[in-house]
């Protein structure tokens, strides 16, 4: 008896879901697009929010920055649950390895005195800054219009918790496994003169009505704090015998590089929107005019405190250079509106 082996191809009746077909035609696309395109409801909102009766439950008018089509913006990192979790699990695994390396060799306790003071009075208190930034991202996750934006904001909010957690773990390790450093950090955040301008700024940004303005204002602060505290001091740490600081700081620089990808892409999408470009550029210019100066002076107070502990690092001078070199990541995009 003989068998003839043949394969038979059974073509799928549809390659993808209707939300994708409506936009891109019937073709297989990435999980990211399947779970993003047009997922947020747009109609059949039966009730308006009681606290703002002139808006729908999801309403693009929650921000001055608008997009003709929210899905013109997509996350360049293509994060959806699985990819996001995998990427961040990697980040925190790496961080955990760094920290256990530091703890095994007691490297944090052996840091030069200036660097220890920097960690306990400036870097660990920034966990509260991360917490403020988290609330801002959560507001974006709720009020942004379009899943592509909302999910970036949600992931950014979780990132902030993660960053705060990394800082807390450094604090706990620095305090020899106790919570003493965290309590010192909390006191520094609430009472320390060098942190008050930053705290005041973050709290004012937190209560803004426009989620996009908050997000961008926090980003202006990030664009100074991250290059300065993590990236900039990193080099001096290596030269000044504080390798432990450099090992910790690299993970925050890595996160910030990741964060930049979607915020820069979003700002570019806003600034080049076919319908709202002019209004968006004006709104971006307004954000820059309102918050860039304040971000600078808040971070300048922080930089002055860094200078007290580590005069060699010349952080205040570095801040001026950082602010000058990248006046704002989006200044060139909005052109004349930035004045």
């Amino acid at each position: 008896m003989q068998y003839e082996l043949r394969h038979q191809v059974i073509p799928a009746k549809r390659q993808t879901y209707q939300n994708v077909i409506d936009r891109l035609g019937d073709q297989p696309v990435s999980r990211y697009l399947e779970g993003t395109l047009d997922v947020q409801p747009r109609e059949h909102f039966h009730y308006r929010p009681t606290w703002m009766p002139n808006r729908e439950l999801y309403d693009e008018r929650f921000s001055a920055l608008r997009l003709t089509d929210s899905y013109r913006f997509t996350d360049p990192r293509q994060y959806y649950y699985t990819t996001y979790v995998a990427a961040r699990a990697g980040l925190h695994d790496d961080f955990g390895k760094t920290l256990s390396y530091l703890e095994e060799r007691d490297l944090l306790a052996r840091l030069p005195a200036g660097w220890q003071a920097l960690l306990s009075s400036i870097v660990v208190p920034l966990r509260h800054y991360e917490s403020g930034a988290q609330l801002v991202s959560v507001a974006g996750a709720r009020f942004a219009y379009g899943t592509s934006l909302e999910q970036c904001c949600s992931f950014a909010a979780f990132d902030r918790i993660g960053n705060a957690q990394m800082l807390s773990r450094v604090g706990i390790a620095l305090g020899g496994g106790t919570r003493d450093e965290l309590e010192t950090a909390k006191r520094a955040w609430v009472d320390g003169a060098h942190l008050q301008p930053l705290r005041r700024l973050v709290e004012e940004i937190m209560v803004l009505d426009d989620w996009a303005e908050s997000l961008l204002a926090i980003d202006l602060v990030d664009s100074l704090v991250y290059p300065l505290v993590y990236r900039g001091l990193d080099e001096h740490a290596l030269l000044g015998g504080a390798v432990a600081y450099s090992l910790v700081a690299q993970h925050f620089s890595a996160w910030f590089a990741d964060q930049r990808k979607w915020i820069d892409a979003l700002v570019a999408t806003w600034a080049t929107d076919p319908e709202h470009a002019t209004a968006n550029r004006a709104a971006l210019g307004h954000v820059l005019a309102t918050w860039a100066g304040r971000a600078y002076s808040a971070v300048a107070a922080l930089a002055a405190a860094v200078d007290n502990h580590l005069p060699m690092a010349e952080t205040s001078a570095a801040l001026a250079a950082t602010a000058e070199s990248r006046r704002s990541p989006w200044a060139s995009l909005i052109g004349g509106a930035a004045s």
Binding site: P11, V29, S30, R31, D75, Q78, A87
Partner: protein
Amino acid sequence: MNAALRPVSIDLQESEENRALIEAIEADNPEVTTRHLPGLIKLQAPGQIVINRESVEERLGHEWETGEFQLAIVSYTGNVSEWDDDQIIVKWEH
């Protein structure tokens, strides 16, 4: 048939992870024809097929090393004439 026209082909596993790779190949090789088999996609083009790291990364949204091509490929016809950090070229050389 001369080497410029003789078809080369690459068989890849058709999966979520490989979709960006397949799209990059289709974009960089306009003459490529595809055939879907269960779980498998056959990409065929006259002369050569080029895979560029940058176009894969652009579609993937994160870094991709050309070595990862090993995880996607099932079979191929042709010679791998180049395989460096930025590019893989499959073509007939003889």
